[in-house]
């Protein structure tokens, strides 16, 4: 030990030089990725902000100041869109968390075949969302989908029911499809967290005569709480950004019942070529997302302090 310390102190002059080298080397390694992200993400982001102050369209662009934002602030439809985005997100995230928790608990049970069940949960996470949605399109079809068909057979409904044709049912149908896409990831993260809970905690509680439910409530939930919070915020961000699901199922219809901020932005900018107005909406999205992320980081920090993760 004495030798080691002597060894380190023997070369004090070399250290600062090595540090500079290390920093330069590190930045050289990071630079390519940074530059790429800069060109493809950061610069377009700045450009979006600039465009939001113009009336850019196919014909050209003119500086209009805060005009686009003023329009959004006055537009009742836009307020409704924001409200709808948040309720849509709220329902979807809640369902994902509840189902994810139930699913993870089930998959964590020590029953024969659990390895197989785990694999069977994953497909929605792996395949392209667009392809899964083709399946849901069919499921929701009133005339030949299994849902409406079975309901008719059972006598619950008289005629074919088109899930995507009515405002309310389309809204909930897209929520369910979004939950379907998100549940596997949430389930597997919860499962991984549950498996990381030290077994001696359960054993101690068991010896003390705690019931299964009690152990779940007082050991599992508190132990995986940080992961629950992470998943809540991550799913919130994913759901907020969810585009393909709604776009393929309803394109935001019927009568805007499923138009969320992302869909509205896409329709305005790409569908109607109103780049300026679309950019203003995109900026609103970026601001809201940043607020989410800051909340996320803030809560994560608090949790880390409280639960003492290293």
């Amino acid at each position: 030990m004495a030798e080691l310390t002597a060894d380190i102190t023997a070369t004090p002059k070399k250290r600062p030089r090595l540090k500079v080298n290390e920093s330069v080397f590190a930045w050289l390694l990071i630079a390519p990725a940074m530059i790429f992200i800069g060109v493809i993400v950061a610069w377009p982001l700045v450009e979006t902000v600039r465009l939001s102050f113009t009336n850019a369209n196919l014909g050209g662009e003119e500086w209009v100041g805060l005009e686009n934002y003023r329009e959004l602030a006055d537009s009742r439809r836009f307020h409704q869109t924001i409200g709808r985005t948040f309720t849509w997100m709220f329902f979807s995230v809640c369902l994902k968390l509840v189902l994810g928790l139930i699913g993870a608990t089930l998959l964590n049970a020590k029953v024969p075949g659990k390895a197989l069940f785990r694999v069977l949960v994953m497909p929605p996470w792996v395949i392209p969302i667009a392809i899964g949605m083709i399946g849901w399109l069919w499921l929701y079809n009133g005339h030949f989908g299994i849902l409406s068909g079975t309901a008719m057979r059972l006598g619950i409904i008289d005629g074919p029911f088109e899930f995507l044709a009515y405002k309310n049912s389309a809204y909930w149908s897209t929520v369910v499809a979004d939950v379907w896409v998100g549940v596997p990831m949430v389930t597997l993260f919860f499962l991984a967290a549950m498996q990381g809970v030290p077994t001696d905690l359960y054993e101690a509680a068991y010896v003390d005569g705690a019931s299964r439910w009690y152990r779940f409530r007082r050991i599992t939930i508190p132990q995986i709480f940080p992961v629950i919070v992470s998943m809540m915020l991550l799913s919130a961000i994913f759901t907020f950004n969810s585009f393909e699901i709604i776009w393929i199922l309803t394109e935001g219809g019927p009568r805007s019942a499923t138009t969320t901020l992302i869909i509205d932005t896409y329709k305005t900018a790409i569908g109607n070529f109103k780049f300026g107005e679309g950019a203003a909406r995109a900026v609103v999205i970026v601001i809201l997302l940043s607020l989410f992320s800051l909340t996320y980081l803030f809560i994560l920090n608090r949790l880390n302090k409280r639960f003492g993760s290293k």
Binding site: I40, V41, T48, G103, L106, L139, R153, A192, A193, F292
Partner: protein, 280 residues
């Protein structure tokens, strides 16, 4: 002992798992059933769950009805493959830097990378369209590859970093002592040891790249021969007379490549992706 369930509970668990899996797998089941049904029976009214003449004919006919189907699948694989390869080139050095080196703005720059994950392409489409136009990449494969890379770099760095952190530092230090340069150590000591991690991260990126093509394809590419599978199929939905059974067969065939890769590596993939959820 603690984990032994009474019989009724085991039965209840299985029942719940069955319900849960039904929800997760129902669309696939429905797609498969639809693909087996002869076209004239698809639209039969009243609804019939079972047809007596299920056949795999759609799986043969689809190649004629959608002449570009094979091309779409190849496009998907090609785009995802290119995205994976190039992303790894960016990710490996950066992940190494975050795993091993100390440098100014380390946390800040990592935060910036992860911040990218916050956005989907949808927010940036307008300027991105112009960037790609300026670079002359619209309506080429690159229009779908380039944005794909940007949105997968952060995930890649994050995943690979945690892998590299697990490789014992002593090995590198031994190489340094022997006079190896940093780059040499990275190439000859760290990378060979990281091969399993590289495979897992590469697969995760491939699956991500395969899944995310839709938006970029419908926005930045109008050339039908270059379309990846999801976009190609979606265009097909708009046709006058959709042969739905073939469409379902095509969709299922199209996800086969990723499903196979995934099945082989699922154990490592899930462990790698959920690593953050487990306290060490």
């Amino acid at each position: 002992m603690m984990d032994r369930y009474p019989l009724w509970l085991t039965a209840f668990i299985y029942l719940c798992i069955l319900v849960f899996l039904t929800f997760v797998l129902l669309p696939f089941f429905e797609m498969f059933m639809a693909s087996l049904r002869p076209l004239e029976h698809l639209f039969r009214s009243p609804y019939q769950f079972w047809s007596d003449d299920f056949s795999f004919r759609a799986y043969v006919q689809m190649w004629d009805t959608v002449p570009l189907l094979g091309r779409y699948i190849l496009n998907s694989v090609y785009i995802a493959g290119m995205v994976t390869g190039i992303t790894m080139i960016f990710v490996i050095p950066a992940a190494y830097a975050y795993a091993r080196l100390e440098f100014p703005f380390k946390n800040l720059s990592l935060g910036i990378f992860l911040g990218v994950n916050m956005f989907t392409g949808a927010v940036l489409l307008i300027p991105l369209y112009r960037v790609l136009q300026t670079l002359g990449l619209l309506n080429t494969y690159w229009a779908m590859i380039v944005p794909g890379i940007a949105f997968l770099i952060p995930t890649g760095i994050w995943l690979l970093r945690s892998y590299l952190e697990k490789i014992p530092r002593e090995l590198e230090e031994a190489a340094f002592v022997d006079g190896a340069s940093r780059l040499y150590t990275l190439r000859r000591v760290v990378l060979p040891l990281a091969v399993p991690g590289l495979i897992v991260v590469g697969t995760a990126i491939f699956i991500g790249a395969y899944a995310q093509q839709f938006l970029f394809a419908i926005t930045f590419n109008q050339q039908r021969e270059l379309q990846p599978l999801p976009a190609g199929l979606f265009e097909f939905v708009g046709y006058q007379s959709v042969t739905w059974n073939e469409m379902m067969a095509a969709a299922l065939t199209g996800v086969l490549p990723v499903m196979l890769i995934f099945l082989f590596l699922q154990k490592y993939l899930v462990a790698g992706l959920t690593a953050g959820a487990v306290k060490e």
